[in-house]
Symmetry: C2
Amino acid sequence: MKKRYAVGVDLGGTSIKAALVEQGQGLVRETTRPTYAEEGPQQVITRLGDIVEELIEAAPDHEIAGVGIGSPGAINWERTTVSHPPNFPGWETINLHEALRARFGEKLLVFVENDANVAGLGSAHYGAGKPFDSFIMVTLGTGVGGAIIYRNKIFRGATGAAGEIGHMTIDYEGPFDRSGVAGAIEAYLGQRFLSRHARYRLMTRQDSLLHEMAGPDLRDITPKMLHEAALQGDEGAIEVLAWAGHKLGCVLGAAVNLLDIRKIVVGGGLSAAGDFILEPARKTLKRFVMPGMWDGLAIIQETRGNEVGMLGAAHLVFQYLDEPTHAHDPLS
Amino acid sequence: MKKRYAVGVDLGGTSIKAALVEQGQGLVRETTRPTYAEEGPQQVITRLGDIVEELIEAAPDHEIAGVGIGSPGAINWERTTVSHPPNFPGWETINLHEALRARFGEKLLVFVENDANVAGLGSAHYGAGKPFDSFIMVTLGTGVGGAIIYRNKIFRGATGAAGEIGHMTIDYEGPFDRSGVAGAIEAYLGQRFLSRHARYRLMTRQDSLLHEMAGPDLRDITPKMLHEAALQGDEGAIEVLAWAGHKLGCVLGAAVNLLDIRKIVVGGGLSAAGDFILEPARKTLKRFVMPGMWDGLAIIQETRGNEVGMLGAAHLVFQYLDEPTHAHDPLS
């Protein structure tokens, strides 16, 4: 088979990461620029185009079939627009498909998809999800993202928004997440929520290393610090991560019962804490899945880190080329 | 198109209901017998065969393509066996497909599917789910069953067990359901759980009609009585049903966030209470779904009652005849 290439873009609130990807192989070349989202949509679209152009120009001997973009916010069924991405001031509904075609011509395939969904797709074809036809992807970052990979494709639901694990409740009287859902898992594991929990929890633990790492009032505590302290045996930090893992196991149990998809891949920044969070999650998971579905349950750490986003974004292009008329594909 | 017929069986713990079904039309003839599950699997299988034979013999001029069976318990991916149906003593794994083919010959198509799944399929093609390509089915009976209907088919997950909404948690520290899952919706809305809740809740309401209907210690309270009392304006009964509806809304919110399937059809005995339970569920649902998915949310009462089970069971046969090689069909 002829080698196929596509550009995969990970459009984040802080930086735009993009890579040239070879189908079935992985990243060929990678580049990154700050997003400067505060400058508004037109500036970001221009920068997004610039980074794509940079990658295309750096590979004059590669035929590039298209561009896939993983973006926060709501994506339409046709995979052309992004609506209301959090932390992107001034974005209503932006048609990235049109914007890129206007700049690069009608020949270029362009697909936009939710960032957690492309992370799942990337994991399915290049990452920890590769051994599985179907799995649940969870990304633990600023927020908690999710995706359902079913038979190696993104399960998109009725309108393209499926997979919002972060807003599933595990306690109908619990604390509110940013969407106003009580007891949603994001209200425990979202970065700000977890940091705040850690801060107050460790107030009474003067022996914790976090007091050195995050200042005496623990105001600047980050999940990364928790992981570092845990590695040094800090009991308080280990406790916080186990607490987070327990909550994660609860919501994953609910998702497994509903989907009968028993493999879970966990990515995103906090997943770097590995078994400090995943081992407690595994123990809890079993208590929240009905016994008839225990067989084959597994929670696995994503090993390719944030690369899966770019890989999955590029894979949108490959998938379309391989099966342009597949019933699951909204573009057929 | 030539008229097509199949037999749909609803195998319940108390009675076996079966019907001759005409594709696209509905029930032609219906019959029912007690299950006598305590007599063990062989007796039940014989009775199941008898009832199928009765329907076939009563329609000598109809060409019957096959038999579909909705059953409690776990169904295998091939749709041939039932494992451990609750309330069926002595059942390990029983191959109903083989049993019926041995009796009626290899020409007869036989499919077994989970009872909540066939209720969903029946609703999709003959009931309240007909207007929707995709919806979530919930059945409120002895237990709480569920099904995901995606593009007019049963979404089966990785092994065929998807849709277990009843065991999704809404409170990780909540009461345990029969599967040992804390705060599962079945631990609130399952018949015994709801009756017990009503009993204790109404203890202090001496004015409630339930004291007349269910005896002074409220020991024999049933969901049906709650509905009847609610119709007569009984405040206590209305409160109990609203409490149940609130819990239902919580779990449905979690399911909608995960699936992006925004229509929900509610069937099963307790659904007869209609808006006494569904109106509170609708109010709560919105509070547990992220705002980006509010558009098109709806909770609808199943109008064909328990018929949907038989209709959906028969439809397994029609679906196979229409699309024997469809990728979603495990039998292709």
